[in-house]
Symmetry: C2
Subunit: 235 residues, 2 copies
DNA sequence: TGTCCGGTTTTTGTCGACAAATAAAATGCA
DNA sequence: TGCATTTTATTTGTCGACAAAAACCGGACA
């Protein structure tokens, strides 16, 4: 069970990079559901897996807890945070507002280099759609909107938005494991519209398109949830 | 140099409470500027001050770093985060939006117990204004709006808002050390208006009042900054 | 006098170990 | 057999110590 990065970590890692390695890998595994919600995260197990002491593992877990990706039950094992389906609407509210705000600010403050970044991620997204690769589609979509947020140059909004986008990746991932719908072509064209609005610095248009885009995504997730619930009832 | 809480921490503290104690105390000291921005935070010094090992200190620092209250220069001392006056407008944008959103949501989702909490903090605020106690005024104001955010029941917004309110406390504190203006009477009446709007569940009114309140605060800070800059030029 | 170089010191990052707290298992009792 | 209680075992929280990095200091040299 020794992957590339883990052996790197084990052999010759620089003094202080250990935490980052563990943090990023755990983060990715939580987001792509390799570590399912609610599963316990054992410190000593991770320690021997990465070939390091418990101390850096612990620090990585504290950071993840700060972002809400894991929960730290006192004197008990830390677990991967559950997805709260009951209060999913709070997530929808928050991410919709952040879509709008970040896109508006991008329209206001973006520079040429930002647009290049955004277009690059959109190209990745389109390629993923063409290849029908749901996983890299989800990742590219996240990076696309993250780039827009960065172009908006408000670290407070960017910070919250990144958290929400990652949480969204978990939820999407949950459904793209079981279903294989595809309306992502609409997403791609909507993305192009957003890019154009940002480039034209049309703030109102940015807002409208971002809101429509967010509504689209929220509706899709809600459809997934509803279908899921009907299945639960049917069984 | 042994205060009450520190001796408590030293003698008989429960297993796992050490981090919380250090975290909360450091957090308070950073917010009320006892630890000025940019000042180094020495681990071993804190360790002997609290009578505990470096490990829990370190964990507290990691948490604080996660909230942006300290910065962790690799292989070098961690320092209290500086206040970024150049990009202060991003702070204004963010906190204004959060004022509006949380107050709107409070108008929508609050329950009777929430209103009681909010009114209690407003009473504290009024008392602090009457006593002309700037410090507890600032603290009560923060708690007042925090209670409104809690009543809105969106943990994502609440989380960001609390961070912004604490950052705002640092900025306010910065100026209430040098000046002794007072227009807080206006704040108190505005607070009453906000309470009434929430109780009446008038969402639009909540939004308008919150926005006006935020603008008021932003203007006051900007006036402080401007006056400060004029002083710098004069000297 | 100013700059570069090597040693010293301070401070962090990591480690292994121990003790407390809880979960799990085993035992006793009705 | 089922439940309460004690015992064991696992896992976390904390500690002291050591080694690596960078800052600090002093001296040599141009």
């Amino acid at each position: 069970m020794d992957t590339e990065s883990e052996r790197d970590a084990q052999s010759a890692r620089k003094r202080g990079s250990g935490v980052r390695i563990v943090y990023e890998l755990l983060r990715d595994e939580i987001i792509d559901l390799s570590l399912p919600p609610g599963s316990p995260v054992d410190e000593v197990q991770l320690a021997e897996r990465f070939g390091m002491s418990r101390t850096p593992i612990r620090e990585a877990l504290v950071r993840l807890a700060g972002e809400g990706l894991v929960e730290n039950l006192p004197n008990r094992s830390t677990i991967v945070s559950n997805i709260d389906f009951v209060n999913l609407h709070t997530f929808f509210d928050a991410i919709t507002l952040m879509y709008r705000v970040t896109t508006r600010l991008a329209g206001q403050y973006h520079r040429p280099a930002d647009l290049a970044d955004i277009r690059r991620h959109q190209a990745r997204f389109v390629a993923a759609v063409a290849a029908e690769d749901a996983l890299s589609m989800i990742a590219a979509n996240r990076d696309f909107h993250a780039a827009i947020a960065v172009a908006g140059r408000n670290p407070y909004f960017t910070g919250l938005f990144l958290r929400l986008l990652d949480e969204g990746r978990r939820i999407f991932r949950l459904y793209y494991q079981s279903f294989d719908d595809r309306l992502p072509q609409e997403y791609a064209t909507e993305h192009d519209g957003i890019i154009a609005a940002i480039a034209a610095r049309d703030i109102d248009l940015c807002d409208r398109l971002a809101r429509a885009h967010a509504d689209q995504i929220v509706r899709q997730i809600q459809a997934f949830v509803a279908r899921d619930q009907r299945q639960d009832i049917a069984l």
